[in-house]
């Protein structure tokens, strides 16, 4: 049954390639892409269930044994991420149906959308560092196309910078791969872990670890490499911004967590302390950016940065509960952040602007939009009983347990500032006097709310069902902290 592993990668690729043929037929494109995303979600659910019940499975392409051939590995972490990406893929697609401009649909929006999912799922499932590079490139090339689709002046200008920065990061990735191959003579992640465990001299490894950290930090928008994110996520339409905000940075974070729990574990005293510092700075400066902004999408973009810090903080603390907290946080963040970006899209549809100073009074004309937004906003800030609280709680508790009081303080402060800036959006955009015309007030948002409601339900559910979800995250953390299981199931003894 391990051939199932390839489905989340091959299915979007095949569908994306097929949709190129139907570029001019909107209805056919929508129908096929909807069916395909449901199928991807089903296969992701199956994989997650399979990984939970049967443990790690691997798929060796062409029956070439592990260190020599290409392998796909499904452990709890990777299938969890694939499941999340499938959910986001479906929801953003539904939102895109209602909001995306018809001209953009004709210019290969759906093919690129599915190529992006191919790259994301492939990056999660692969067990090989060079394949990780290739899937990163698949994902990035489609993201360049999606971010510039529409071709307004702002988009062209900012996506050139986005593309240039990411190409530079990819070049560094290749340099890191070259050094690592020169040192160890292998690129299979499990094999790398074995070889690095055997090595005596580790000075060069430290350098390579930092190169990889810089590369993934650039993709994951960590301090000080986050400057590209707020401007480039501002340009594209809401459905694409939501997909990016939910998924793309998390691929970088996934790669950091994967490599720094499996491969670069030889000197956690240096690397993980460094990661903890970066996490604190990322959280702090990200949230400062959010506090200073008055634009719906920009505030959300800066919040991506500050919350990526929490996930990396879990890795930096490097204990069982902290990594479980980070995994929980990734799930919470992907769901809530996508929902919030979709809210930004819905309010933009009504008011025609994303500047919250020019909005007001949406609470009266669109009460459902406002209250659902408030739930997600409070969840992002970490108010119990929503998912944000239960994902931050283990992180902060764990940092107190191992006496890193500094990071605990920063995390709490950032939570407070997050609450402040989310309430700022609520006060400016939804409270107060009505700033939009009566004609705009009669615009119905029911169709737009349909894809958002499941996400809001999920964040409530993750909060109420925090116990089983956290148990699952602990199981993920156990697998991540005991790479022997991973190594054994990939290399086979």
């Amino acid at each position: 049954m391990n051939n199932m592993l390839i489905i989340p990668v091959i299915l979007p690729f095949a569908v994306g390639a097929t949709l190129i043929l139907f570029a001019k037929y909107r209805k056919a494109q929508r129908f096929i892409s909807l069916l395909a995303s449901i199928a991807i979600l089903a296969s992701a659910l199956f994989l997650a269930y399979d990984a939970y019940t049967n443990g790690i499975t691997t798929l060796e392409f062409g029956n070439w044994n592990a260190p020599f051939g290409i392998v796909f590995v499904s452990d709890l972490f990777s299938t969890f991420m694939v499941l999340l990406s499938a959910i986001i893929g479906l929801v953003c697609l539904l939102f895109a149906f209602c909001t995306i401009h018809p001209e953009r649909e004709k210019f290969y929006f759906y093919p690129f959308y599915f190529f992006l999912l191919t790259g994301v799922n492939g990056a999660f499932l692969t067990g090989d560092l060079f394949n990780l590079f290739v899937f990163f490139e698949v994902m990035l090339l489609s993201s360049y196309a999606l971010i510039v689709i529409g071709g307004t002046g702002y988009q062209l200008r900012e996506s050139f910078k986005y593309a240039a920065i990411n190409v530079f990061a990819s070049i560094l990735f290749l340099v890191g791969v070259a050094y690592l191959y020169g040192i160890t003579g292998t690129l299979n992640m499990a094999h790398l872990a074995v070889r690095i465990g055997e090595m005596e001299q580790t000075g060069a490894l430290q350098v390579v670890a930092m190169i990889f950290f810089i590369v993934f930090a650039m993709k994951g928008a960590l301090f000080p490499l986050y400057f590209w994110l707020p401007r480039s996520y501002y340009g594209p339409p809401a459905a694409i911004a939501a997909l990016f905000g939910g998924l793309l940075t998390k691929v970088g974070i996934y790669a950091i967590i994967r490599t720094f729990t499996l491969i670069f574990t030889n000197d956690p005293g240096f690397t993980h302390t460094f990661i903890l510092w970066i996490a604190g700075l990322t959280m702090f400066f990200g949230v400062l950016g959010a506090v200073s902004q008055f634009d719906f999408k920009r505030i959300l973009s800066y919040h991506i940065i500050s919350q990526v810090g929490y996930m990396v903080m879990g890795l930096g603390l490097y204990t069982r509960a902290a990594i479980a907290g980070a995994v929980f946080y990734i799930a919470h963040h992907i769901i809530v952040k996508t929902a919030l970006f979709l809210f930004a899209g819905a309010t933009e549809k009504v008011t025609g602007t994303t500047d919250i100073k020019q909005m007001g009074g949406l609470l009266k004309t669109h009460p459902w939009l406002a209250w659902l937004f408030l739930i997600s906003a409070l969840s992002l800030a970490g108010i119990p009983p929503l998912s944000g609280f239960f994902s931050k709680f283990p992180l902060i508790l764990e940092s107190l347990v191992i006496e890193s009081y500094g990071i605990a303080f920063v995390a709490l402060l950032v939570g407070l500032l997050t609450l402040f800036s989310m309430i700022k959006i609520f006060v400016y955009a939804f409270w107060g006097k009505q700033a939009h015309t009566d004609e705009q007030a009669s615009i119905s948002v029911t169709k737009l709310l349909l894809p958002i409601v499941p996400l809001v339900m999920l964040t409530i559910a993750l909060g109420i069902a925090a116990e089983p979800v956290f148990t699952y995250s602990l199981a993920v953390a156990d697998q991540l902290l005991n790479p022997e299981i991973y190594i054994q199931s990939v290399l086979g003894e």
């Binding site: 360049y144 990819s170 340099v175 191959y181």
Partner: protein, 112 residues
Amino acid sequence: MEILMFIVIGVFFAIGTYLLLARSLLRVIVSLMILSHGAHLLLLTMAGLNAEAPPLEHMADGGYTDPLPQALILTAIVISFGITAFLVVLGYRTYKVHNTDDLEKLRGSADE
């Protein structure tokens, strides 16, 4: 031989970094091309250049060349072709829309 290659790679990276700091769109694109060629050569060289025999086991008396880096840079070169093509088109459209290729003028202001 390896030393010579490393010097070439160093020169590539120096030129690439220099051009990356330029203000013109086209120079940035060229610099990314040169940098990626440097990275490809590095990938080839780090595994060790061995001119004794082709990577065919029955023809090798002593050592034979490691075939994997060659497969890797083949993939990497194809990817960098695609990206370069995309960047050139993107740069051209940006130039057409904004009528400038000066990155300093493409910075944009906060209140647009």
